[in-house]
Symmetry: C2
Subunit: 626 residues, 2 copies
């Protein structure tokens, strides 16, 4: 079968901002580029080893070789293989790697080998489980796996031109439409774990086949009618258009919303967009951590009540942060509103990036904001959705930097890079951007080809109002509105230089008084980075015995290699030992003034994403303040 | 039927301390006596009106008059009537009140009129519900109501000599033994809400009939075998001897433990005592509020996880505090260990006493340790277990002050009073105690009849080590061990004076660091009283914007009549407005040093039990400390 990718459209009809092609951007920065390089050099190979050790590859092989061999692990294990493939595809487009290329080819062959004559493709629902196909959409993740297969197939075709997996994925997608379409076998089919929705829209965009879009919409509209038992956990308690806040399992909720946003981008159905905006607003004002993490509740990996944002007990799954990034990104594409880029950046640098160790081979699944050193990075998990998910986000990161619109080019995230993109009208845009972002907010952008277009530069929400912009050495604006895009429209000449200054002083943050346990506490930020105290030196105060002086002065320092040269904040305060109690002591104890011992000291706050990479000790994002 | 109260024993075989007869003590103090007087003058009459208005009395009348009238309220409503009767009985023994006496007689007549020929007595399981008798021991509180009936009947007989209700209660108890005894109809019968256990032991003590004790033990041993579905909520997940911590519904749990303690007092079964000691120790170290309140979790009115002690969301039901007092009291009687008296006193003065307003006619059901003024006293509740429960504790309070043992007389609680008691060997003990307790720790005890005996004076756990004791003006000991009974054994002469000095400075308390939200906070105490800030004056800082200076000096002041002349603590600190956020604002906001406004101020902390009696405002037990 030869696929006719006749549509291949880049722009959806209700889209304000259009992603540039991945090969239009070349990252050259010292923050992301080395991380993406490390993916290629280390992360993706070790992840493959884990996929192999844990039987996730063997699960495909047994279907062909010997079905009497036991299926290994959980029924949705193959989704990790698909996410890994997707990450490898993105990585290969940037860093050629023969080992990875070979592995990708082998794995693809193993996958397509298990496709059934009718197009069905799943490593669990075969053999004696074949009769269970489509019988437990609620909990067995069958359509979830299909969605990740489709995403991987598109990524591989885009990156390598190889259409083997895409051909298989399309056959499978056709079977899904055949099975779940209106007036078909299971018209009420409702995926228990969203993912297929956004994948089907992606396949629609890639092939032009409208049936995939129609099926995505049907899956979305089937929710909220009790097909999943009216469970909030499954976002089935209300029709999606009636949702007003985030409920239930956090990853499911944000994947669903990303899928809804994709359907909106193609259909322009305002009632969908309205529900998304209401939910996003509620989440941002009641349900998100200062790190951009979401899904505070361990029980059900779920969104909690308003202001239910515990620190040490925070769940804040890495995958939930990733799903939020997907959703934020789509909201940005729809609206061009800088608030979405702002939130995306916050979650990316903090809640998500904490999910992978500086070594590139250790991970957090949940991301508490305080720890008494019991929370440790792991090389893999029994349910290991997070590691390959982080990999595919990092590997595709360059795609988030720039977007275009009819008017011009939009800079969403700042990282040293070159850009060589086309606007929708064909105008060529070429520039080089230099910066030490996120450690420093000086942005130097040099036009490398003359053209007339508007440049939209994002002014982050954290930005001090004296952010300024110069063109060719002359001040163009000395005040810029935080959380906006500043537009500079002109006929650019080769060599024109735009300089943006986004000051990044230490900015202490306080929390809404409804988060009672954060009274008397501040979180330190600088630019998009949230910092934390980590107690790894016995001569330092434990993280929660350090009390910041209210008018403390701050100094930036840079860490050595062992912490990836991150920026740190030296903070003055006191070591407060007003607690004769050890943690094993009585509930309450009298305290006498002469028992309060205070000594002046200083500590180094490190970026939150970098915690848990040295010795393990207490960690605290929200620092006590006297 | 004439009952032979042939046993009437005061002392159980495994009892170290023996309660004195209620009429041996006469309270004359300014703290408790006016409260108990107010019961007689106001509280019990208004509670009767509520019982009447809400159909709790009519539920008895309909059984005799017209069963087609609907039963009003919940199926356990009659338990409130029984608790009210018990309180009235105790009150009449101290304050003659013709209105109450008449009401008591009328209500007793209405109750006994519904007793069925077989002895059954319950206002709900009659008429069309008769077939439901004993069919839902788990949730319908049938045996719980029977227990309260028995307790009321004993109290009335003791106080007034009238045995009408007691005769009915004994007939009902006999039916219960008949129904639930070994090899009877329901040998596995397990009460869903404990109460019958302690009541049956009381009836055993009062009548000498061993079958009641045997039945109490059977009910206790039936637990933990799944008869209530292995529910932790019902303390059915383990046999009671295997319990190691407090689980489930708090009132159920402490009522059960009081019943277990009663059975131990009669049987000496060490495995029961051991379980009680393990549970008590765990509760005290992990599950109790600084006020002595318990049952922190709103969901299920239940004990939470270790250190799960939220403030504003605290449940801490008044009835749970009362049940804890019952349990503490029995542990004290068993062991003579001052730690139990200490805890009883703490819970009595704080967690329990907060449950009734200074007006004697308004109540709290749950008792949070912080409030944003949404928590208000009510005149009654749909489930109104707490108001009559507080009444019966207050009305019987004089019985907690003194106990005896073979060696002598024990002073457990300090309150101005006279005591005229007999030791087990017949020795007469007479004295007058003067004090302004709990506002002041000077205790003046004058012997008013010569006799040789040991006087055991409780040295509270909160007591500063320089507590001292003088006899006839001479220092007898200038250091006393906190949380102990100091023993003074001598031949006392008429007019001997014992002076005990228990200093009550302001004592700030800190919490175990495992209670994360209490870092940087202190609770102020003085003697047994826990204080709180209440924001009722718009010119004062809101309770949680007041920051106590670490070495603040404290001054005592006394309130006027509107706050019942309570002692207050004037505290110095600052009004910290470092929060530009209102509660409706964003989750997180930057804070700049110039936004931190601090002004020196002072506030008056009032006893926790007295909060919510003036205008309603913010309240905070745990005060921020800089």
């Amino acid at each position: 079968m030869k696929i006719n990718y006749r549509y291949k459209k880049n722009k959806s009809p209700y889209q304000k901002l259009i992603p540039v092609k991945p090969d239009s951007v070349r990252l050259k920065d010292k923050f992301w580029a080395p991380r993406i390089n490390l993916l290629s050099e280390r992360t993706l190979l070790t992840q493959y080893q884990q996929l192999e050790i844990t039987g996730r590859i063997a699960n495909f092989e047994r279907v062909v070789k010997d079905l009497s061999e036991p299926f290994q692990g959980l029924y949705f294990n193959e989704s990790d293989v698909y996410k890994w493939l997707e990450a490898v595809a993105y990585s290969l487009a940037q860093f050629p790697n023969e080992d990875l290329k070979k592995l990708l080819g082998e794995v693809v062959n193993k996958i397509i080998a298990i496709q059934q004559p009718d197009g069905y493709l799943n490593a669990y629902f075969v053999g004696e489980n074949e009769s269970l196909r489509w019988t437990d959409l609620k909990d067995k993740h069958e359509l979830y796996c299909a969605g990740h297969l489709i995403e991987a197939a598109i990524a591989i075709h885009r990156s390598t031109g190889d259409d083997k997996l895409l051909t298989a994925a399309i056959r499978y997608a056709d079977l899904i439409v055949e099975t779940f379409g209106a007036s078909r076998k299971f018209p009420n089919g409702t995926p228990g774990h969203p993912e297929i929705e956004l994948a089907l829209v992606a396949l629609f965009r890639y092939t032009g086949e409208k049936q995939y879009l129609a099926q995505a919409l049907r899956f979305i509209d089937n929710r909220g009618h009790g097909h999943l038992g009216y469970g909030e956990y499954y976002q089935d308690h209300k029709p999606v258009r009636a949702l007003q806040r985030m409920h239930g399992h956090a990853v499911r909720a944000v994947y669903l919303n990303a899928g809804i946003a994709d359907v909106y981008l193609e259909t322009g159905d305002k009632s969908l967009l309205n529900a998304l905006e209401v939910m996003w607003h509620h989440m941002t004002n009641y349900q998100v951590y200062v790190t951009g993490g979401i899904g505070s509740r361990d029980d059900g990996e779920a969104f909690g009540a308003d202001y239910e944002l515990p620190d040490a007990e925070a769940y804040a799954e890495t995958c939930a942060a990733i799903g939020k990034i997907f959703w934020d990104w789509r909201m940005l594409l729809i609206t061009g509103d800088a608030k979405y880029a702002n939130d995306l950046e916050l979650t990316l640098f903090n809640a998500m990036l904490a999910g992978i160790g500086l070594d590139g081979v250790s991970y957090f699944y949940s991301n508490p904001l305080a720890s008494d050193c019991m929370h440790r990075r792991q090389p893999w998990f029994a349910i290991s959705c997070c590691p390959p998910n982080v990999a595919r986000v990092l590997a595709s990161l360059s795609g988030y930097l720039y977007t275009t619109s009819e008017e011009g080019l939009w800079v969403n995230l700042y990282a040293e890079s070159t850009c060589d993109a086309n606007l929708p009208d064909g105008t060529k845009v070429q520039f080089e951007l230099s910066s030490s972002y996120p450690w420093d907010g000086h942005i130097h952008l040099k036009i490398t080809d003359s053209a007339a277009f508007a440049l939209f530069l994002r002014i982050p929400g954290w930005c001090h109002p004296d952010a300024s912009l110069s063109i060719n050495g002359e001040v163009w604006k000395d005040r810029l509105v935080p959380q906006s895009y500043v537009k500079v429209d002109r006929h650019w000449q080769f060599g024109d230089v735009v300089e943006l200054n986004l000051p990044m002083p230490v900015q202490p943050m306080i929390a809404n008084p409804n988060i009672k346990h954060l009274a008397n506490r501040v979180a330190l930020t600088s630019g998009p980075i949230v910092f934390c105290l980590e107690h790894i030196d016995e001569f330092m105060p434990e993280a929660d015995n350090f009390v910041l002086s209210p008018k403390s002065s701050f100094n930036f320092k840079y860490a050595g290699k062992e912490l990836g040269h991150v920026k740190m904040i030296e903070v003055q305060g006191t070591r407060r030992i007003n607690q004769p109690l050890t943690k094993n002591a009585a509930l309450y104890e009298p305290i006498h003034p002469d028992q309060i011992s205070e000594e002046s000291t200083s500590m180094l706050a490190i970026p939150y994403f970098a915690w848990g990479n040295r010795d393990y000790g207490d960690m605290q994002v929200w620092i006590r303040q006297s």
